[in-house]
Each structure stands twice: as structure tokens, then as C-alpha cells.
């Protein structure tokens, strides 16, 4: 479809669907609280997600304080340490990253980028957010029940999840499972909405192969989520029944504290299969939108078309498909038939192929580009670094023989924080710096942003690179303390842990600076204008900044080209927006250049 971008027909195709009547708001409540405008819902999603994200960041600081300076802080005991680890993981993965990328970015950018007035189902969209909000409240409530939140690790493996001795087995586990259930129901409402909107509500001229890669990423990630979350929902339901109704889906016959538990004959391994059938696609639910966002930001700020657009799309599709057949690589040490290990190692390593295509294409997009090191660009390049690092260690862990000694060490912690935490978070920052001017009409402060980037980028390496060394040295993960130094726990482990903690505190401080920047620039930022980055995609071409209800004023835009017409030879400006018809493109010299 690449040629479509250049040989577009001069007249617009007729409109297939009649204009939708937007649910208009009549009061303060329906404008700001129970709003059915996707943009407001997106901001509600984002603010909630970032708030819980900041909370989870403080939990990670508590973890690091304990590890770096054991027995210094009386606030942290072994139980609360495990609870912090569990809640940090669960909040970051599900309630921050999934909700922010799909609920936040998805709601804001899908209608704007495909040229729609709103989502296809605005009411359902509103309901989706309030379910998410409720799930967050239920999750937070678990801090206030007797025993506190669950401390079984974010993977929630039974039997220890609901056995005596694990913190939070009374109220915490129940609230966690209910919260996950509400989240999944709410997400399903939103997810159906995103897919239908993308497939059925594009503007005239907007073919699938003219969509910005951001939308492709969100589209495929939503698809993955709709198919992967059912496994978690079923697992959560079964855990609840095991805990409350005395069934034995996951609980084997076992003795605890000298007496036989009432459960018999369940299969703990079944839970691990269900969990990771959700858990592995979850990695890509977070990563695919990040891939898309980074592609768009790189192209815009390097003033160059994305290299290999169609390959980028098909690589996203391939990664999405493969993500459903690799889940058991999380279970190499759980006890599986060795042939399964071989199968899952193979499929895991195959994922490196489409991923490598994407990385090469990002780098080739930068090649000979007119690179502007704006804040979004810095974070996008930071993403490429952390993603390559995390991807490489992923190859180590995908091999059974290498994984067996490294599983359950800090190597794994370093790996997945590089690839699953840093890479998407870098993208989130890139996206916020990139689109904040559209959302609020003002730029974020440049100096604060630079400090934020460099502290975050260098600090993140200072935190997670040493963890690979700790892992190779055999330091186990999830331990509360390592005790006296010994031949197993060397002097370097102790000093490195202290170093990592100091770095983590500094990085956390930089994130608070970012939050301050977000709030301050809302009122005091520099006026941005409608299109500060000279970008081509439709959200920058709206009549108003920030876009009003209905997004595009009277007339919906008509799309004539793909979203990456940067530095087109012969064109007067180095970008041609998607809604500019071929005959209106200003040329340097009309006679000399044939388009």
C-alpha cells in the first residue's frame, strides 16, 4: 500500500457510515466525572494509572532500602517486604502499564489518529474507566485489611498463595483476585471498543496500512489482551474458590504446620500454565504499543519516514501471534517434560527475528535523518538502548540450559526490568513529552525534562546493569536479606546492593521532578501552538488545541497519504500532513520535480 501514499486519488471517497450523534454533556458531572468523551476518559485513566504508579515506585524504594541497608529500617519486616514486592510488581505491570498504554493512550489517540469523532461505544468506554477505578480501590483496600495485601510474589503461585505462613492470606488474596476480576471486566469493555473503533470507524481515505504505527501497536496489543486476560480471569476465579469454597483446583494434598490441609489432588502447575498463558502475552500487551509509539516519535523527530513500514506492521503481527506459544519458558524450572522445554525455547528464540527487524528499522530510520534531540527523541533513543539490552539477556534466559542456573536470581530481575519496565516507561515518558502540547496546549519545561532524562537513563543503568552481575554471582531474588558475607554472598554483593539503592533513590527523585513539571507546565508552560513538532498525523491537524468534543470541528478530515511523509524530495516543507491532498502540496519548483 506504500504507493497509495503518493498516487492518491484527488477526490475523497463517499462517506460509508452516517455521522454519529455524540452524547453531549450537560453538567459539570457529565463533563468532568462521568464523561463519555474519549479524551476525558483517557486523562482519567492516565491520572489514575500514574498515581498508582508513583505509589508502586515508593514500594520499590522500600524494597531497595531493605536490600541496600538491611536491618536499618524498622518499618520493613520480612512480611511487609514480601508484600511490597508483590504489590510493586502487580501494580506496575497491570494497573500502571496496561491501563496507561491501552486505557490512557488508546483512548486519546485512537479516535484522533484515525480521524473519528469519538470511540464507537462512548458509554461502554466510560463504564470501562469506572470499573478500572473500582479495581484500583479494591486493590488499595487490601492494605487496610487485617494481615495486609498478599505477599506471594506478583506471580501469585499457589499453594503458597493461600497457605498459612504467607502474608496476607486472609483478606489480601481475596481482594487481589476480586480486583483483578474487576480490572479484566472493565478492560474487556474498553478493549472491544478500541478494536471496533479501529476496524469500523476510520475516516475517508484511512486504510489500515495508512494508520500510524502507534495505532497498530495499540490495536494488536488490545487483541492480545482480549485473548490473554481470560486465562487470568479463570485462574483468579479458581483461586478464589480454592480459598473460600474449599475446592482443590490448584491445591495439592499437603501438610502444613503438622496437620493435613483440607485440600487434595489439585495441580499447582495448572495455575502456572494459566498464569503464564496470560503473563507472557501481557509482556507484549505492554511492549507492542510502546513499539508503535517509539516508531512514530523517531520518525517525527528524525524528520524521516519510518524505515520499512509494512515490515514494521507485520513484525508487530508476528510478535503478537508468537507471544501465545512461548508461555512455558517462564516454567523451565517448574518441572516440565524436557521436550516441552525444547519446544518453548525454540518458539522463544524465533521471537528474536521480528524483534530484530524492528530494532534494525528504528536504527535505519535514524540513519541520515535530520535528528532533533528534543525530549521525546531522547527518551525514544533511550528506549532503543534499554530494549536492546533487555532483549539480549532475553536470549540468555530463553535457552533452557542457561536459564536453569539463572532462573530465580537477580539476572532475571535485571532482564525483565530492562525490557519490561524501563523500555515501556521510557516510551511513556517519550509519549508524554511528545503529546503533552496537544493535550494541554503547552510545552513541558525543557530544562527539567533534560535533568529528568539523564538522571533516569543513567540511573536506570546504574540500577539494573549491576543486577546482571549479582545474578551471575548467584544472588537469589525475592530474599529479604542475605545475612553475613560468606563464600556464597561476597563483599561485592553487599556494596553493590547499597550502590543500587542509592541510584534508585536518585532516579525516584527525578520522577517526582517530572510529576512537578507535569503539574507546573499545565499553567506556566510555553504556548505550544497546534503542531509544535511539525508532525504529519491527524491529531496534530485538529481545529482546536486541545481538541474539543468531537475532535475535528465541522468536517472530518480526509486522508490522502501515509503518516510518514517527512522530508519528501521536492516538497517545500519537510512534512506533509496526512490530510493534505496531492494537488495542494507546496513544491519547491513545480516544473522540476515529478511526484
Amino acid at each position: 500500500m506504500a504507493e497509495l501514499g503518493h498516487d492518491a486519488t484527488s477526490h475523497a471517497p463517499p462517506r460509508e457510515m452516517p455521522e454519529m450523534e455524540l452524547p453531549h454533556s450537560h453538567s459539570w458531572w457529565t463533563t468532568y466525572v462521568f464523561s463519555q468523551d474519549a479524551k476525558t476518559i483517557a486523562i482519567q485513566y492516565s491520572v489514575t494509572a500514574i498515581s498508582v504508579g508513583v505509589f508502586a515506585m515508593f514500594l520499590s524504594i522500600m524494597i531497595r532500602l531493605q536490600l541496600g541497608f538491611p536491618n536499618t529500617f524498622s518499618l520493613i519486616d520480612p512480611s511487609s517486604y514480601l508484600q511490597y514486592v508483590t504489590m510493586h510488581g502487580m501494580i506496575m505491570v497491570v494497573y500502571l502499564l496496561t491501563a496507561l498504554f491501552l486505557g490512557g493512550f488508546g483512548n486519546y489517540f485512537i479516535p484522533l489518529m484515525i480521524g473519528a469523532r469519538d470511540m464507537a461505544f462512548p458509554y461502554l468506554n466510560m463504564l470501562s474507566f469506572w470499573f478500572y477505578f473500582l479495581s484500583v480501590i479494591v486493590l488499595m483496600a487490601s492494605f487496610f485489611v487485617p494481615g495486609g495485601p498478599t505477599g506471594a510474589g506478583w506471580t501469585l503461585y499457589p499453594p503458597q498463595l493461600i497457605s498459612e505462613g504467607t502474608p496476607g492470606i486472609h483478606g489480601g488474596v481475596i481482594l487481589m483476585m476480586i480486583s483483578l476480576g474487576i480490572f479484566i471486566i472493565g478492560f474487556t469493555m474498553g478493549g472491544l471498543n478500541y478494536i471496533v473503533t479501529i476496524l469500523q470507524y476510520r475516516t475517508r481515505g484511512m486504510t489500515l496500512m495508512r494508520m500510524p504505527l502507534t495505532i497498530w501497536g495499540i490495536f494488536l496489543a488490545t487483541m492480545l489482551a482480549l485473548l490473554a486476560f481470560p486465562a487470568l480471569l479463570v485462574a483468579a476465579l479458581m483461586v478464589l474458590l480454592d480459598h473460600l469454597a474449599g475446592t482443590s483446583f490448584f491445591m495439592p494434598t499437603m501438610f502444613s504446620m503438622g496437620e493435613q490441609l483440607p485440600h487434595e489432588g489439585g495441580s499447582p502447575l495448572l495455575f502456572q500454565h494459566l498464569f503464564w498463558f496470560f503473563g507472557h502475552p501481557e509482556v507484549y500487551i505492554v511492549a507492542l504499543p510502546a513499539f508503535g509509539v517509539v516508531s512514530d516519535i523517531l520518525a517525527t523527530h528524525a524528520r524521516r519516514n519510518i524505515f520499512g513500514y509494512r515490515m514494521m506492521v507485520w513484525a508487530l503481527v508476528a510478535i503478537g501471534g508468537l507471544s501465545f506459544v512461548v508461555w512455558a519458558h517462564h516454567m523451565f524450572v517448574s518441572g516440565m517434560n524436557p521436550y516441552f522445554g525444547f519446544l518453548f525455547a525454540t518458539t522463544t528464540l524465533i521471537i528474536a527475528v521480528p524483534t530484530a527487524i524492528k530494532v534494525y528499522n528504528w536504527v535505519l530510520t535514524l540513519w541520515h535523518g535530520n535528528i532533533r534531540l528534543d525530549l521525546p527523541m531522547l527518551f525514544a533513543i533511550g528506549f532503543i538502548f534499554t530494549f536492546i539490552n533487555g532483549g539480549m539477556t532475553g536470549l540468555f534466559l530463553g535457552n533452557v540450559t542457561v536459564d536453569v542456573p539463572l532462573a530465580d536470581t537477580y539476572f532475571v530481575v535485571g532482564h525483565f526490568h530492562m525490557v519490561m519496565a524501563l523500555a515501556p516507561v521510557m516510551t511513556i515518558y517519550a509519549a508524554i513529552y511528545h503529546w503533552y502540547p496537544k493535550i494541554t496546549g503547552r510545552m513541558l519545561n525543557e530544562a527539567m525534562g533534560k535533568i529528568h532524562f539523564w538522571v533516569t537513563f543513567i540511573g536506570a543503568y546504574a540500577i539494573f546493569l549491576p543486577m546482571h552481575y549479582l545474578g551471575l554471582a548467584g544472588v537469589p531474588r525475592r530474599y529479604y536479606a542475605f545475612g553475613e558475607t560468606s563464600p556464597f554472598i561476597g563483599e561485592s554483593v553487599v556494596s553493590l546492593n547499597a550502590f543500587i539503592t542509592v541510584a534508585a533513590v536518585l532516579v525516584a527523585a527525578a520522577q517526582l521532578l517530572f510529576i512537578y513539571n507535569l503539574i507546573r507546565s499545565r499553567k506556566h508552560g510555553k504556548e505550544a501552538g497546534p503542531n509544535p513538532w511539525n508532525a504529519t498525523t491527524l491529531e496534530w491537524q485538529t481545529e482546536h488545541t486541545p481538541p474539543t468534543h468531537g475532535n475535528f470541528g465541522k468536517e472530518l478530515p480526509v486522508v490522502y497519504r501515509w503518516p510518514y511523509d517527512y522530508s519528501v524530495p521536492g516538497a517545500k516543507y519537510d512534512f506533509i500532513p496526512q490530510n493534505v491532498p496531492p494537488e495542494e502540496v507546496e513544491m519547491v519548483d513545480e516544473g522540476a520535480v515529478r511526484r
Partner: protein, 235 residues
């Protein structure tokens, strides 16, 4: 591309599919929004039920105790004779019949035959309610026989757990369907679908397509029952 959008009849078969997917505006031509959403929901729900059934198979294979014999457990004593699977056969017959009435309702709906369509929807709802009632009856028998989620008199404890969980989850789907059908019956009979009257909750205008969308859900719930029937009662 502009040509394909204005074309009266789309090209047939695979070529048509490719031209639909590479076109602008809508991928599923003429399908609106509600129908693709229901199909997607069904796809997601297939994964839920699929995982339920896989979990059931896995539990059944993993348990060390013998699995109760379905022919005995689900037998009904009528006139002093034990007839295996009698109740469940009637239940299945009723649910499949309700799919028939639903399909007819969709047909009459598109013919704008309000009365017949409405009555068929009501018939579907009644058949669905009978199914749920018989399921409650079946649960009662099993519970009186001593089947509990955590134990049963014949063998593996996982039998009761998986049975109540999966048939309960399916029964919930049927119940939600019955409520939706009754609501749709009211809408059809009042003429909401002809007048385009906005719905009570979401404010979307009534369209005859809604009957078909609800029908998709109903057929899906019936189809799921076929699999549950095969895996629980015939295995």
C-alpha cells in the same frame, strides 16, 4: 481504492476479503459497530470457556482418585428405571430448540414482522429459563446425593469443583441471555426498533440489527453447551 468504495457489489471470495481489509473507513462492510463487537466478545469468551474446559481436563488427568462415572451420576430414576442422562438430554434438547426460535426471530425481525419476532424472542427466553430451572433441579439432585465443591461420594473431589464452576458459569451466561431477551422482547413489542427510540442506559437508537446481535450471543451460549455436554456427560 476509491473505486472499491463506490462499487455496488464487492468482488467475491478471497479477493473480496482482501479488498475489504485494504479499504478505508470500515473493514466489515455494512456490519455497523454492534455486530463486530459481539463477534469479538464471543472470541474472547471462547477463550474463557476453552480455558475452563482445558483446566477441567487437566484436573481430571492430574487427580489420583477415580473420576465418577457420568452414566451413573447423571442418571434419573423414572418409573423405577434408572435412565442415564435423561434429564441432561431433555435440557440439551430445550436449549438447542431455543436456538431455532431465536434464528426465526432474527428472520422475522428483518422482515419487520414485529409481533411474530417478539413472540419468538419471548419463546426463546422461556426455553432459556426452563433450561436454567432444570439446571437448578439437576444441581439440587446432585447436592442431595452429597456432591459438594470439595468432595463427593464417588471419587475425585475435583468432579464437584469443576462441575459446579463450569455449569454455573454457563448457567450465568444463559441467565444473562434470558434477561437480555426479555428486555429485547419489550423493545420489539413497543416498536423501539422501528422508531429508533434511544435505549434506557446507553442511549443508542433502536435498530433491527440488535435482534441479530443478541441472537449471536444466544447461539454462542448454546454452542458452548454442546462442548460442556460432550466433555462432562459423555466423557
Amino acid at each position: 481504492m476509491a473505486e472499491s468504495a463506490t462499487q455496488e457489489t464487492p468482488p467475491p471470495g478471497f479477493t473480496g476479503m482482501i479488498s475489504d481489509w485494504s479499504s478505508d473507513q470500515t473493514t466489515f462492510k455494512g456490519a455497523g459497530w454492534g455486530k463486530p463487537m459481539m463477534w469479538l466478545f464471543i472470541l474472547s469468551d471462547i477463550f474463557i470457556f476453552g480455558i475452563f474446559l482445558l483446566g477441567y481436563m487437566s484436573a481430571r488427568l492430574a487427580t489420583p482418585d477415580p473420576w465418577p462415572d457420568a452414566a451413573e451420576v447423571f442418571a434419573l430414576t423414572m418409573f423405577g428405571v434408572q435412565i442415564p442422562l435423561l434429564l441432561i438430554a431433555i435440557m440439551t434438547f430445550i436449549l438447542i430448540s431455543s436456538s431455532g426460535t431465536m434464528a426465526l426471530a432474527v428472520k422475522y425481525g428483518y422482515e419487520r414482522n414485529r409481533k411474530v419476532c417478539g413472540r419468538l424472542i419471548l419463546a426463546t427466553a422461556v426455553l432459556g429459563a426452563i433450561f436454567v430451572g432444570m439446571q437448578a433441579f439437576e444441581w439440587t439432585i446432585l447436592i442431595m446425593d452429597g456432591v459438594r465443591p470439595w468432595a463427593n461420594p464417588w471419587g475425585s473431589a475435583q468432579f464437584g469443583a469443576t462441575f459446579f464452576l463450569i455449569t454455573g458459569f454457563h448457567g450465568t451466561h444463559v441467565t444473562i441471555g434470558v434477561i437480555a431477551l426479555l428486555y429485547m422482547y419489550r423493545k420489539v413489542m413497543r416498536g423501539d426498533l422501528d422508531d429508533g427510540r434511544p435505549g434506557a442506559i446507553t442511549g443508542r437508537k433502536g435498530r433491527w440489527e440488535m435482534v441479530e446481535i443478541l441472537g449471536l450471543y444466544w447461539h454462542f451460549v448454546d454452542l458452548v453447551w454442546v462442548f460442556i455436554f460432550a466433555f462432562f456427560y459423555l466423557w
